[in-house]
């Protein structure tokens, strides 16, 4: 590795972080504080909120999506294994089974808990 001088970079990094911190503290301390409904409103998208805030949204849908993400992400461990499948041989296969076992147990658990029932 070439010997690059990183000191300057990190000084920059520090200054950046420090600037954020200092400005926030200062504005927090110096700024006038007026609280009104308008000010407390969300302005993330610039669109006025309309209608009932209690929008009905499906917990079931959310749950399934989250569970999908969890199990889906575990698949990344299978990519390197699949690429080196031949080199790793039988031992690698057994190890992958050991990895998949608890995952399946997890699946069994959520199934038994009824997390996948739609009704």
């Amino acid at each position: 590795m070439e010997n690059i001088e990183y000191g300057a970079i990190f000084l920059q990094f520090l200054v950046a972080l420090g600037f954020v911190g200092v400005t926030m503290t200062l504005t927090h301390l110096l700024g006038p504080k007026r609280k009104s409904d308008k000010k407390l409103e969300n302005f993330e998208c610039g669109i006025e909120t309309t209608g009932n805030a209690r929008m009905p949204f499906s917990i079931k849908y959310f749950l399934t999506a989250i569970l999908f993400v969890l199990f889906d992400v575990e698949v990344i461990f299978m990519y390197p294994w699949a690429l080196n499948f031949k080199e790793l041989g039988a031992e690698g296969f057994v190890k992958m089974l050991v990895f998949m076992g608890p995952l399946l147990l997890g699946f069994l658990y959520i199934y038994k808990k009824g997390a996948l029932k739609w009704e």
């Binding site: 010997n3 990183y6 990190f10 608890p102 147990l105 658990y109 038994k112 808990k113």
Partner: protein
């Protein structure tokens, strides 16, 4: 390694005990299983084997700290038999999460690779985020979980960035390699990485100025979970902290020593001083746990070999006292409807047993001989003085005087006479056993501290 695998299996088994509707008996699965784990720890003693290309190493240090966390969990589970009486099936999930969290604690006390450190920290933390919010209907529990989660994952990010920088500078994640290469690396990346890892740890142990989350989270979380956080999470964090900084990062001592010195002093003072004003037991204990972290940081500063034993002794005596205080607090606040200090007034009248246990536990925390708390503090001060850390010891002694004040203040509540004294509180057999075990433990460690001190 047996301990690690077995504990994970117990965690899964506990979850399934809930699925198969074992109801209130589900606690026996982790309880008996963890007793088994304790046996494997004893069996593995003095083996010192490293596993999987030195990802984890089960030396005596790792076994001793794993043992403390597992023992603490056994105590907490035993108390929960009474505490969660009549709760539904989801109780098994809570037990399961606690066991999984302890898996993380075991990883944190045995890692010898930075990747394992990160994984350990996350396995420890993620279940606790859920546990903190496990009282779903209660706003305070929600708030506690949200705060803990936001700040915890923020801190994880910082810790991870630090690990990445250390990896960049040394091109390895292995602790032994880092210790070997550390002195030869010139890159400031190593220094900055070490300091960011340090910040991540300081959050986990709730050292000032990273301690703000602790009182809120402790106060809002359900009582047993708070006890869990105050004992197991803290012990595990210190185990990992000391393991990392006394081996791999020693060469960078010049970078972190001074700042840790300042933080130790700040933690000692902030914890003890803020506690003076508290009127609620749980919040008071949160500040006191911050202060106790300060004492243990003292050992970090010395970094000699005895410091590991001193931290172990301190963690053990602190765990015993904390569990006893929490058990009493849970009983009282359940009977009185609040954990405000005023509700402890006159406890002695109808509940002398609880009052005496409280007294011994608080005396131990205040560091009054001949209890465990005194000797554990004494050793920390002694090794700190040996390392010529004169001024910080003075700060620590002043802090412990302030500490003694509020411990005694809360205690004298229990011994005052009051017309509103709590009625006789029924103490179940399991809780009684835990309380007596804690008191005896505090006495034994006070009389023969070297039983634990020289384990490692």
């Amino acid at each position: 390694m047996k301990a690690l695998i077995l504990t994970s299996v117990i965690g899964i088994a506990t979850l399934f005990a809930g699925v198969f509707k074992m109801r209130n008996n589900s606690v026996w699965v982790p309880l008996l299983g963890l007793l088994g784990v304790m046996l494997t720890i004893v069996a593995d003693w003095n083996t010192n084997i490293s596993w999987y290309n030195n990802m984890v190493r089960f030396d005596n240090y790792a076994l001793a700290f794993s043992g403390i966390t597992i023992a603490a969990l056994i105590f907490i589970l035993t108390i929960s038999i009474d505490h969660y009486k009549g709760a539904g099936n989801s109780i098994a999930d809570i037990y399961g999460l606690m066991v999984f969290s302890v898996v993380g604690a075991i990883v944190m006390s045995s890692f010898s690779n930075l990747a394992m450190l990160f994984i350990g920290v996350e396995i420890l933390s993620i279940p606790v985020y859920i546990l903190a919010g496990s009282n779903r209907r209660l706003t305070s529990s929600n708030e506690s979980a949200l705060k803990y989660f936001l700040m915890g994952s923020f801190a994880s990010g910082i810790l991870l960035f630090g690990i990445a920088l250390v990896y960049g500078a040394t091109q390895t994640l292995d602790l032994d390699q880092i210790a070997l290469l550390g002195p030869t690396v010139q890159s400031p990346m190593l220094t900055i990485g070490v300091l960011m890892v340090l910040s991540g740890f300081l959050f986990k142990i709730a050292a000032a100025p990273f301690h703000f989350w602790a009182p809120d989270v402790y106060e809002g979380a359900p009582g047993l979970v708070t006890a869990f956080m105050a004992t197991i999470v803290k012990t595990a964090a210190f185990a990992a902290f000391f393991r990392l900084f006394s081996t791999a990062f020693v060469s960078e001592e010049s970078a972190w020593f001074k700042v840790l010195w300042g933080i130790t002093a700040a933690t000692l003072l902030a914890g003890n001083l803020t506690a003076l004003f508290q009127t609620k037991m749980k919040r008071l204990l949160a500040y006191s746990s911050i202060a106790h972290a300060g004492y243990m940081l003292l050992a970090m500063l010395t970094l000699n070999k005895q410091a590991g034993g001193a931290i172990l002794l301190y963690a053990a005596s602190y765990t015993l006292a904390t569990i006893a205080v929490f058990a009493v607090m849970l009983l009282v606040s359940e009977a009185q409807g609040s954990d405000s200090l005023a509700k402890f007034k006159g406890l002695r009248k109808n509940n002398p047993f609880l009052a005496v246990v409280l007294a011994i536990a608080l005396f131990s925390m205040a560091g009054i001989p001949p209890l465990a708390g005194f000797f554990s503090k004494y050793y920390l001060f002694a090794i700190a003085l040996k390392s010529n850390l004169f001024y910080i010891v003075i700060v620590a002694i002043v802090a412990s005087i302030i500490g003694a004040w509020y411990y005694l203040k809360s205690l004298s509540m229990a011994f005052l006479d009051s017309d509103e004294a709590p009625e006789k509180i029924e103490v179940g057999l399991p809780t009684r056993i835990v309380l007596i075990a804690c008191v005896i433990g505090a006495l034994i460690l006070g009389i023969r501290p070297d039983l634990i001190l020289h384990l490692i």
